[in-house]
């Protein structure tokens, strides 16, 4: 069929149709992506979803259980929990996304370099990464934020340090795999400089692995971020961060469980959606 008439060929299916087909094949992933899109919308335009201010204090209506006026109830100063959770979406997700991005960029590049060049660079970096890995993640987060002080920048630093080794290892093993392949050998024979091979060939092939890890690790970062906030080491009140709201709700847990219930549910739903999406993506990659 060298020169077939294009009109007689079946038309490529429409993009929407393809989307619907994928959604039918992977309903769990479709659900996960839908939730994530909604979350991004909430993060971008919180005012659209929550009419009340997350900071407005109303002592007369303190510790109210959920009602029509306050969907998720109010906290000990009468602030609307619904507004706080909605407005907290942006802060919480932004912190996780940026920390993970820093970890992915630094870990990805250093891991690729380490795997590509090998030798003493690899030895040295590997040893450093081992040291970071010898601390359990949460404990590392507690030390960094606790010692440097509970500020958002320190929180981001702590989360990046915790996740750097993950990206380092993935990128390193990817690079080691690429180095042995014939196209790298061919590029070397053509006399391409090592840095060009690294940038143009190896890094580009390592990138998908790193992107995949970004999605797989996101729910875990979210939980550590919430845990540090809960310990009082994350975002500080009155800023509405999910972990920070949980920390405030802790002392009134038996009196007003709704303060803790809803931000925790927000973490759970977000992590659940991310896990569904990540798993489906991983499956589709494995199948290929």
């Amino acid at each position: 069929m060298a020169q077939a008439d294009t009109a007689s060929l079946p038309q490529a299916p429409h993009a929407w149709y393809r989307l619907a087909r994928t959604a039918r094949r992977e309903p769990a992933m479709a659900g996960g992506v839908l939730v994530l899109v909604l979350l991004c919308l909430v993060a971008a335009l919180p005012g659209l979803f929550a009419g009340q201010s997350p900071y407005a204090i109303d002592v007369a209506n303190a510790l109210q259980p959920p009602s029509a006026a306050h969907l998720f109830g109010t906290d000990d100063t009468g602030r609307d929990i619904f507004a706080r959770v909605i407005h907290g979406t942006r802060i919480t997700l932004a912190i996780c996304a940026s920390s993970l991005l820093i970890a992915a960029v630094i870990g990805g590049i250093s891991g690729t370099v380490s795997g590509f060049f090998g030798g003493w660079i690899d030895q040295g970096l590997g040893r450093l990464i081992d040291v970071v890995l010898s601390f359990p993640p949460i404990i590392l987060g507690v030390i960094v934020t606790g010692v440097l002080g509970p500020e958002t920048s320190n929180l981001i630093l702590a989360l990046s340090v915790i996740y750097l080794p993950v990206f380092f290892r993935i990128a390193r093993s990817g690079a080691v795999g690429e180095v042995g392949k014939t196209y790298v050998e061919a590029a070397r024979c053509l006399g391409l400089p090592e840095t060009t091979i690294l940038r143009r060939h190896v890094l580009r092939n390592v990138l998908p692995l790193v992107l995949m890890q970004y999605i797989v690790q996101f729910p875990l970062v979210l939980q550590i971020q919430a845990a540090l906030g809960f310990l009082g080491l994350g975002v500080q009140p009155p800023t509405p961060d999910w972990g920070a709201i949980l920390q405030q709700g802790k002392d009134a847990i038996l009196l007003a469980p709704w303060i803790s219930l809803f931000p925790g549910l927000a973490v759970l739903i977000t992590a659940f959606a991310l896990m569904l999406t990540g798993r489906a993506l991983q499956r589709s990659v494995d199948r290929r």
Partner: protein, 314 residues
Amino acid sequence: MTRYLARRFAASIVTAVLASIVVFLIVRAVPGDVVAQMLGQTSDPAATQSLRAFFGLDQPVWMQYGRWIGAALQGDFGISWTGGRPVSTMVVDAFLVTLEIALLTLVLATVVGVPLGLLSGIYEGTWPDTLIQTFNLLGLAAPVFWTGLMLLVLVSSALGWSPPLVYAAPGESLSDNLAILFLPILALGLLQAAAYSQFVRQNVVSALHQDYVRTAIAKGVPARIVFFKHILRNIAIPLVTFMGLMLTQILGGVVIVESLFAIPGLGRLLLTAIQTRDYPVLQGALLVVVIAAMLVNLGVDLLYRVIDPRVRLA
């Protein structure tokens, strides 16, 4: 084997030493030391000077490190700057509390996670599998401290029961001890059970798709024998090693539930030491955590070699 052992051990020691230096430096990177905290705003230089000399803070950092690590190697971690108790007894006491939680959590996670994982793996793609996988994902997605809080609300509103407020050692009152540890262990255990079940399922499913299993089924080997001899025996090794991985995970998770339920374990010791800038306690507790995690990893690695002859020969 001996050569491998020696190399592995040497690498661990190098990492431990580097980690101890990192621990020491992090602690000293803090703006404001214990002296500034003790004297507050109105400190006169003479008092600051003498107190800093008393705590050894006037010496160069490398000398402080040398003194500390030298004593630590002999089991002397110094004296707490805030309570005056020897750090080694504080750390050992706290470690035993944490160890009890960790081991009981491990038991719970194994008892719940392994059967669930086997079940969902064998019934891959059917409704029990979907149900168990949903449980797994929910368990992994829920923040562990939140699960703990919600369990607390649940038992106190439904059963009218709440755990004792003051920690009791198992030696003092075993029933009080278990009562206070019940909820944190349940919360941590559910999370780890979900992780374990997920892992077991993956292993069962990939074993089920192996040629030798298909052959066994095709030639009419009874299902029970296929399960025990062909599947279980082959996945036993990763399942055992996963327990080591979980133990280090639990060691981290314990920090949060301890602070939530006011249990005097290593996690709470670390947190208070950070808040009060109690360097010797912070260093001692951190070093113990790092070394414990390292020993678990080393143990798992060795176990792996002992039970799997293929790895031993390689």
